[in-house]
C-alpha cells in the first residue's frame, strides 16, 4: 500500500516522540529479559548448588560428639555429618575454618585445585577484600597452609559472622575449609556442629527434625545440643533464595508497568495522528479503501515501535544479564558453569510489547475509524463538544493565562490523568529507595541502638549460675515456635527488671518493663504474625532442647525496633525451661573486657561491628538507589517530553494564531507547555501517599524477612529533592520542545480551513 510510505516519513518527522517511546519499550524489554533470565539462572544455580553440595536441611551444635552418626541417620532416614570449625582471628579479621565435609554441605570448588592436606580453600569475597590469591600462604592455628583455590560452602552461601547478622563485611570475616586430617591434627575446634540432610521427601523438614530430636532425647545422645536451626530459617542459606524471588517479581512488575505506560502514549499519538489525517482518511474511505486496510496501515506505527523496542531491549537484556549474574554471585558465592539463555523469557521479551501495544492501538484506531467518511472529511472528530465541566466552570475574575491553562487541562482530562499517573509512578520509583535507605539509617543509628543500648554480648556455651560481674547484666534466650506460626522462629528473652541496657517502649513512647513475674512483652512484629494483642494467650514450644510447650498471656506490646522477640523476666524464663534460679547464658555490657572464663564463653559479639556492617550495607543500597533514581528521571523525561510534544502538535493551530496575534515566544511557551505543570505537580502529590504506601509494604517485607519491627522513617527533604528533580525534568522537557514551537509556521496553519 502506497499509504505505508508515510509511516517512515511521519516517524522521521516526529522522531523525538517515537524515539522516546522506543526508549521506554527498550527499558521495559531490557528489564524483563535481563532480570527474568537473572532470576531463572539464579534459581537454577541455587537448585544445582543445593543438589551438588547436598545442602543441609538442619544443623545443630553440641558440646560432645554424638557418636555413631550412621545409626542415628538410619533411624531417622537422614544423612548426618559432623562439622567442626575454628575461628582464626588476626588483626581484627576472623577467618572461620571448617573441616571438609563429604556427605552433607560438601564444599564446592569455584576456582583452583581440589583440597588436599596442607592446602586451604577460602571464600572468594574474603580473598578479594584481603588481596589473597591462589598459591599465597595462609597461617591457621600456627600451621602454614597454601591457598589451593576458592570455595563455596553450602551453609554459608550468604557469609555472615553471626547467624543473626544482616550483612557481612568480607574484609573482616570469611570462611575457609581444610581437610579433616589437617583439622584434627592442627586445630582445636571451637564448636561441633552436626549438619543433617533428611532423605524422606514425603515429610516436611520440621516433622523430620522433631523426630530426630525425639530420637536423640529418647536415646540420651548429646542432650546439650543448641542452635537447632532449620535451613528454611537460616539467613545464611535462604537469603539467595529470597533474593531470587524478589528479582523474579521485579522482572515481571516493572516492565509491565512501563509497557502499559507506552500503550497509553502510543494510543495518544496514534489518536492525534489520525485526527490530523482525518480528512485524508475520509477521502480514502470515500474512494473505496476498506476500514481493515486503514487499520492495518495505522497499526504499523505501534508495530514499528514494538519491533525496534523489543528487539533492541531483548538483545541488550541478553547481553547484560551475565554481568548481572556475576554481580549477584559475587555476594552469594556459588559455582556456575555458564549463564544459560532462557528461550521462554526471550520469546516473551519479544512478544510482550506486541501483545500489549497492538490490541490497545487496534482498539484506539478502530474506535476512531467508526466515524463516517463525511464526518472524517469535515474534521468533526477534532471539533469536540465542550464537556459539562467546561461549561459549568465560571472563570470571570481570574487572569487570562490561568483561564487558558485551566481550560487546556479540562479539554484533555485523559492526558492530564495519564500524566498524573505517570508522574506518580515516577515519584514512587524515585523516592522509595531513598525512604528505605533513610529508614535503615534510622534503624541502624537510632532505633536498634536506643533499644539495645549496649556494645558487647558475651555468649556462654551453657547457662551458668556464676555471680554477675559489675557493669554487666544477665539475660537468656531460648528459641520457641508458636502454635499460630510454626515456621517462625521466635526468641523468648529473659531480661533483668529495670534493665539499664534494654529499653522497650509502647506505642505512645512510654517505657515498658518486666516488673512482675507474669510480665510478657510482645514485639510489634509478632502482633501481626501471631494475631495476638494485649491479653491474648499464646502457646509456645521450646524448639532447641526440650520441645516443652507452655502458654503465656501477653501483658504489653512494644513498638521498639526489636526482632521476633518476646520479653519476660529472666527468673520466669528460667522457671519455664527448668533452669535453676539465677541462671543466665548471655551477659550484656558496654565493656569489651569483662572477665569471663574462656572455658565457659562461647563467643563475644560486638554490636559496633554489626552497626559497621549495616553502614556497609547502606552504601551498597545507595548505589542501587542512585541507579533507580537515574532510571526514574530518564523515564520521567521521556514521558513528559512525549506528552509535551503531543501537546505542541495538538496546539499547532493555536500556537500559529498566537504568533500571528503578536504573542511573544516566552508567552506562547508558558501558555502551551506550562499547563502540563499542573499534571506534574498533582501527579507528584498523588505519588507521595502512594510512595508511602508502597514503601511501607516493601519495608515491612524487608523487616519481616529480618524479623524486625520499625516503621518507615520519612524525611521531608527527600520528597522536596524528588520534587525538584521531577520538576527540573519537566523544565528540561519544555526546553526540548521549544524548537518545536519555534518551527510552527504562521502562514501554513492559517491556510487550514480556507475554502
Amino acid at each position: 500500500m502506497v499509504l505505508n510510505n508515510a509511516v517512515w516519513r511521519t516517524i522521521k518527522e516526529q522522531k523525538g516522540q517515537y524515539v522516546g517511546l522506543i526508549l521506554i519499550i527498550i527499558l521495559a524489554c531490557f528489564g524483563f529479559v535481563s532480570f527474568g533470565m537473572l532470576g531463572t539462572n539464579l534459581q537454577t544455580v541455587c537448585d544445582a548448588y543445593a543438589k551438588q553440595t547436598v545442602q543441609e536441611d538442619l544443623q545443630f551444635e553440641t558440646m560432645q560428639s554424638l557418636g555413631d552418626l550412621r545409626a542415628i541417620g538410619d533411624a531417622v532416614h537422614a544423612t548426618i555429618e559432623e562439622s567442626r570449625s575454628y575461628d582464626e582471628v588476626f588483626e581484627g579479621r576472623t577467618l572461620r575454618v571448617f573441616s571438609e565435609n563429604h556427605s552433607v554441605n560438601r564444599p564446592a570448588l569455584l576456582e583452583g585445585t581440589p583440597l588436599s592436606d596442607g592446602h586451604i580453600l577460602i571464600d572468594p569475597q574474603y580473598a578479594k577484600s584481603n588481596t589473597l590469591r591462589i598459591g599465597d600462604p595462609l597461617t591457621v592455628a600456627g600451621k602454614h597452609f597454601e591457598i589451593a583455590g576458592f570455595v563455596a560452602l553450602a551453609d554459608y552461601t550468604y557469609i555472615t559472622k553471626n547467624a543473626s547478622d544482616l550483612i557481612n563485611d568480607s574484609k573482616s570475616f570469611g570462611v575457609a575449609v581444610i581437610t579433616r586430617n589437617d583439622f584434627s591434627a592442627n586445630v582445636q575446634a571451637d564448636s561441633i556442629r552436626y549438619v543433617v540432610k533428611f532423605l524422606d521427601g514425603s515429610k516436611d523438614v520440621f516433622t523430620q527434625g522433631a523426630l530426630l530430636k525425639k530420637y536423640l532425647r529418647e536415646h540420651r545422645i548429646g542432650i546439650d545440643y543448641a542452635n537447632w536451626s532449620y535451613a528454611l530459617n537460616n539467613a545464611r542459606i535462604n537469603t539467595p533464595v529470597l533474593k531470587t524471588k524478589s528479582v523474579k517479581a521485579f522482572s515481571a512488575v516493572m516492565p509491565i508497568m512501563l509497557l502499559l505506560a507506552s500503550c497509553v502514549m502510543i494510543g495518544l499519538i496514534v489518536r492525534r495522528l489520525i485526527k490530523t489525517q482525518a480528512g485524508q482518511i475520509g477521502t480514502l474511505y470515500a474512494l473505496g479503501y476498506r476500514k481493515s486496510e486503514l487499520i492495518r496501515h495505522y497499526l504499523r506505527y505501534p508495530l514499528v515501535i514494538s519491533v525496534v523496542g523489543a528487539v533492541v531491549g531483548t538483545i541488550l537484556g541478553i547481553w547484560v544479564y551475565p554481568t548481572l549474574l556475576i554481580y549477584y554471585l559475587a555476594y552469594f558465592p556459588m559455582p556456575i558453569e555458564s549463564a544459560t539463555l532462557v528461550p521462554g523469557i526471550i520469546a516473551w521479551g519479544l512478544i510482550l510489547p506486541f501483545m500489549l501495544l497492538i490490541p490497545f492501538s487496534f482498539f484506539v484506531i478502530w474506535n476512531i475509524l467508526k466515524s463516517s467518511p463525511i464526518s472524517l472529511m469535515r474534521g468533526e472528530m477534532s471539533v469536540r463538544k465542550p464537556s459539562w465541566l467546561e461549561r459549568s466552570l465560571k472563570l470571570g475574575k481570574v487572569s487570562f493565562s490561568l483561564k487558558f491553562m485551566l481550560r487546556e487541562q479540562l479539554r484533555s482530562l485523559p492526558q492530564l490523568f495519564f500524566l498524573m499517573v505517570a508522574i506518580a509512578f515516577v515519584t514512587v520509583f524515585l523516592n522509595v529507595g531513598m525512604i528505605i535507605k533513610h529508614s535503615f539509617d534510622a534503624l541502624a543509628s537510632e532505633g536498634i541502638k536506643s533499644t539495645f543500648d549496649y556494645q558487647y554480648e558475651y555468649l556462654f556455651k551453657q547457662p551458668i549460675q556464676s555471680p554477675v560481674p559489675s557493669g554487666t547484666e544477665p539475660l537468656d534466650v531460648v528459641f520457641v515456635q508458636s502454635d499460630q506460626n510454626k515456621q517462625q522462629q521466635i526468641e523468648l528473652i529473659g531480661i533483668q527488671e529495670r534493665s539499664s541496657f534494654i529499653h522497650l517502649l509502647d506505642g505512645e513512647g512510654n517505657p515498658l518493663d518486666v516488673d512482675h513475674q507474669d510480665a510478657v512483652i510482645l514485639s510489634k512484629s509478632l502482633v501481626k504474625s501471631l494475631h495476638a494483642d494485649v491479653g491474648s494467650f499464646i502457646t509456645f514450644t521450646e524448639t532447641n532442647v526440650t520441645d516443652k510447650s507452655f502458654t503465656l498471656k501477653v501483658t504489653a506490646i512494644t513498638t521498639s525496633p526489636t526482632g521476633a522477640q518476646v520479653f519476660v523476666p529472666l527468673a520466669t524464663l528460667n522457671q519455664i525451661v527448668g533452669l535453676p534460679f539465677g541462671s543466665y547464658a548471655v551477659l550484656i555490657s558496654n565493656y569489651g573486657n569483662v572477665p569471663v572464663s574462656k572455658d565457659q564463653r562461647y563467643t563475644m559479639r560486638s554490636l559496633h561491628e554489626s552497626s559497621g556492617n549495616m553502614q556497609n550495607m547502606l552504601q551498597q543500597v545507595m548505589a542501587a538507589v542512585y541507579v533507580m533514581m537515574f532510571v526514574s528521571i530518564l523515564i520521567a523525561l521521556v514521558l513528559i517530553y512525549v506528552i509535551a510534544s503531543i501537546t505542541v502538535q495538538e496546539n499547532q493551530a493555536q500556537i500559529s494564531l498566537m504568533k500571528v496575534f503578536g504573542y511573544r515566544m516566552h508567552e506562547i511557551k508558558s501558555m502551551i507547555l506550562n499547563p502540563s505543570g499542573v499534571g506534574v505537580v498533582l501527579g507528584y502529590m498523588l505519588g507521595i501517599p502512594v510512595t508511602l504506601y508502597v514503601t511501607q509494604g516493601v519495608y515491612q517485607q524487608i523487616m519481616d524477612s529480618m524479623n524486625l519491627t520499625m516503621s518507615i522513617q520519612v524525611n521531608g527533604w527527600y520528597f522536596l529533592v524528588g520534587f525538584v528533580l521531577v520538576y527540573g525534568t519537566f523544565e528540561c522537557s519544555k526546553l526540548m520542545c521549544i524548537s518545536r514551537i519555534s518551527r510552527v509556521s504562521m502562514s501554513e496553519t492559517l491556510m487550514v480551513g480556507r475554502e
Binding site: 471539533v383 487558558f404 494564531l657 503578536g662 491556510m751 480551513g753 480556507r754 475554502e755
Partner: protein
C-alpha cells in the same frame, strides 16, 4: 500613505519547483481608508496580506507601514508590530474551541496596551448575551463576529481581513461588512480586505485587482457605498 507596498516579490520553492507568490506588487492606502484586493483564488492576495501583517517576508521590495519598513524588522520586532498595530480576521475564524466567546476575545485584550472595553466590543458585535458560550455553540456568522471582536479589541491601526465573508451566507456577510465599516468609521482604523467577491469592492476607497501575483489595476471610489447597500 499609511500602507505602502513597493514592488514586493515572493517566491516559494519546493524541491526544484518554484512558485510565484507575488510579483512586483505595488499598492498604497491612506490612513483610515478601506482597501479591497480583488482576485481569483491563487492570485497571491493572501500572500500579500500575510506580508503586510508581518507573518511572512518578501524576497525583494519594501512594505512600509506608517513610515516604517517592516521588511527590515527582525523576528522580535515583527512580533511587536503584530502585537501593537495589526488586527487579523480570517475566513476560517480560527477561534479556540475550548475557550468561551469572552475568553477568545480576552486572549487579545490581555496582550494589548490600550484595549477597548470588553463590554463595549461585545455589545458592538451583538454578542453580549453569548459571552459565555463556546464557539461550537454559535452559528458561522456569530463565530465570524467573535473573530472581528477579537481583532478589534486591541484597537489596531490596521485591520487585515482575509475572505471574511467566504464561508457566510448573504445576510451574515452584510452584517459582518457593516461591522467592519463601523469600526473603520468609529476608530479610524485602516482596513485592507481581500475577497473574490466583486460586489464588496463598492465599499472600498481603493480597489486593487490582483492576477498571477501582480496588481494589474487600481481603482479609487470617490463615494464608497454603505455595506448594507451591497447586493450580490
Amino acid at each position: 500613505m499609511f500602507i505602502q507596498v513597493d514592488r514586493a516579490t515572493k517566491r516559494y520553492k519546493s524541491g526544484d519547483v518554484e512558485t510565484i507568490g507575488i510579483q512586483q506588487a505595488t499598492l498604497e492606502l491612506a490612513k483610515g481608508d478601506i482597501g479591497v484586493i480583488l482576485g481569483p483564488s491563487g492570485s497571491g492576495k493572501s500572500t500579500l496580506l500575510n506580508m503586510i501583517g508581518g507573518i511572512d517576508r518578501v524576497d525583494s521590495g519594501k512594505i512600509i507601514i506608517n513610515g516604517i519598513n517592516i521588511c527590515a524588522m527582525h523576528e522580535k520586532e515583527l512580533t511587536e508590530y503584530r502585537r501593537k498595530q495589526v488586527g487579523f480576521i480570517f475566513q476560517a475564524y480560527h477561534l479556540i474551541s475550548h475557550l468561551t466567546v469572552q475568553e477568545n476575545i480576552e486572549m487579545i485584550s490581555q496582550i494589548s496596551e490600550n484595549p477597548l472595553p470588553m463590554d463595549h466590543v461585545l455589545s458592538a458585535v451583538g454578542l453580549t448575551d453569548k459571552a459565555n458560550r463556546f464557539p461550537r455553540e454559535l452559528s458561522g456568522g456569530e463565530q465570524q463576529r467573535v473573530a472581528i471582536a477579537r481583532s478589534v479589541i486591541k484597537n489596531p491601526q490596521v485591520l487585515l481581513c482575509d475572505e471574511i465573508t467566504g464561508a457566510l451566507d448573504y445576510a451574515s456577510s452584510i452584517q459582518v461588512l457593516e461591522m467592519i465599516q463601523e469600526i473603520n468609521r468609529t476608530y479610524g482604523t485602516t482596513v485592507l480586505l481581500i475577497t473574490h467577491n466583486q460586489a464588496i469592492a463598492a465599499m472600498a476607497n481603493n480597489v486593487y485587482q490582483f492576477r498571477s501575483g501582480e496588481v494589474t489595476e487600481v481603482r479609487t471610489n470617490s463615494q464608497p457605498v454603505d455595506a448594507r447597500g451591497i447586493v450580490w
